[in-house]
Symmetry: C2
Subunit: 246 residues, 2 copies
DNA sequence: CGGGCAGTTGAGAATGGTCAATTTTAGTGG
DNA sequence: CCACTAAAATTGACCATTCTCAACTGCCCG
């Protein structure tokens, strides 16, 4: 299996917030991020500690096992979160989209690698800084914990999918879950963008790239979906829901 | 697939703590539970809110989708945590052992069912009561969040196992992880008790009961393990680690 | 125009599943 | 304590979904 770990360069662009241009108050993902529900004063406090950080396609935000020196809010773009087996087999634990928070668990080290699937913009907080704010604001910790609880149920969904669904069901369920996640950021549409490659989908669904391709082709031939460049159009939602429900 | 949901009776025995006999101070799992690190005063506060609750084999502590009216510390025994697909396919998300906390995510409803694999003793807290204590004690929330972060990495381990490991590797990794979990409660031994049946293991590992049985037999024949009534003796740890590492 | 990469498709193999029979274990009542 | 029954576990033969390997297509970008 080919594994492209991407470049490990220091990310390209770091700049401190300038409230006038792109402060938290104007943040497009604030209301769906862990920052939702923070008071204005708290928001300003966080903002003072944050850096914007952008990342090019293929670059690594952080690597599995590295000390978690920072946490990140994803503002734009998508990343894949992967774990590697010593022999190179790979599992994509999930994809981070705008509004997602990376480093949620506040652990010593990252349990996954995070790699940009395209241009990515993030809001970065140093570990110490963020820990201090969390310490002082129980409300933020509750928000973080609620998010962690949600991630836990997503992980359960994924375990059920990996353990008990067929290849076709896996692909259908994945397309629907991706559509729902885009919907949260206000991109509800029957056309679902697929920012990741077939190999990433395969490693997420516990399949091979060939099987993913075959299942997409089969769904396309059955007019359940329509394959379009860079994404998929969902034609027969009923059929997809039926497949995904098992 | 046969699914035995067990009895949904009201659990058999509820009794309030009597500090003299089995208070938190004497609790065998306190130091490995979320209660670890609480001050004595806090412990007494929690204790006043707690009930001991015991459960017989096959009975359900709570069901998937039910309102989470309570949270539980497992004191003794083991439970399986399952999710069901509409067509009856089942995934065992994990097994709760002494020291584990059920309802960690503090969500509205339980995302899994919890069923006793044998006689179980738990420490029960009403939802409102517990929420109030968490509200007042940021330290407890941090402990809960740390536990949730740990659960999240366990879920990732399991996703990697389900998606990318062979049947033999799955079984080997499961035996080792179970051994490690028993070790945390002070039962480090080459003989690992298996409180769950083969079907439960199968539904946990994304296999069939026959495949689990075959893999155990194969490992037994290869003298990697020794099947004993109610459990397994791990003979060749190196080989098991090698299989589990992939 | 051509090289390279991502994706698709096909043929054959294999891992794990299905179905069925058998053995072992555990539980129950005499 | 043992006989009997039911449930759990094991084993075998066969099958199918998915994987592997390979060839091919189309597209992007120099």
């Amino acid at each position: 299996m080919l594994v492209d770990t991407g470049s490990r360069d220091v990310p390209a662009h770091i700049c401190h917030h300038r409230r006038s241009e792109d402060g938290c108050a104007d943040c497009k993902v604030r209301l769906i991020s862990v920052c939702a529900g923070l008071a204005l004063a708290e928001l300003e406090e966080l903002e003072a500690l944050s850096q914007h950080l952008t990342l090019d396609k293929g670059h690594t935000l952080f690597g599995q096992g590295e000390p978690a020196n920072a946490v990140y809010n994803v503002i734009a773009g998508a990343l894949r979160l992967t774990r590697l087996l010593p022999d190179g087999r790979r599992q994509v634990m999930g994809f981070a989209l705008p509004g997602d928070f990376l480093g949620l668990a506040l652990r010593e080290c990252f349990s996954v690698s995070a790699e940009a699937l395209g241009p990515v913009r993030t809001c970065r907080f140093g570990r110490q800084d963020f820990a201090a704010v969390v310490e002082a604001k129980p409300h933020l910790l509750r928000s973080l914990h609620a998010r962690a609880g949600y991630e836990l149920t997503l992980a359960e969904d994924q375990m059920l999918l990996l353990g008990r669904r067929t290849a076709e069901e896996k692909v259908a369920a994945f397309l629907l879950s991706l559509r729902d996640r885009f919907a949260r950021t206000g991109h509800l549409s029957v056309t679902v963008e697929l920012p990741m490659g077939r190999q990433d989908m395969a490693d997420h669904l516990g399949l091979t790239i060939e099987t993913v391709s075959r299942m997409l082709s089969r769904l396309d031939r059955a007019r359940t979906i329509l394959l379009v460049p860079g994404g998929v159009r969902l034609l027969d939602m009923d059929r997809l829901e039926q497949l995904a429900a098992g």
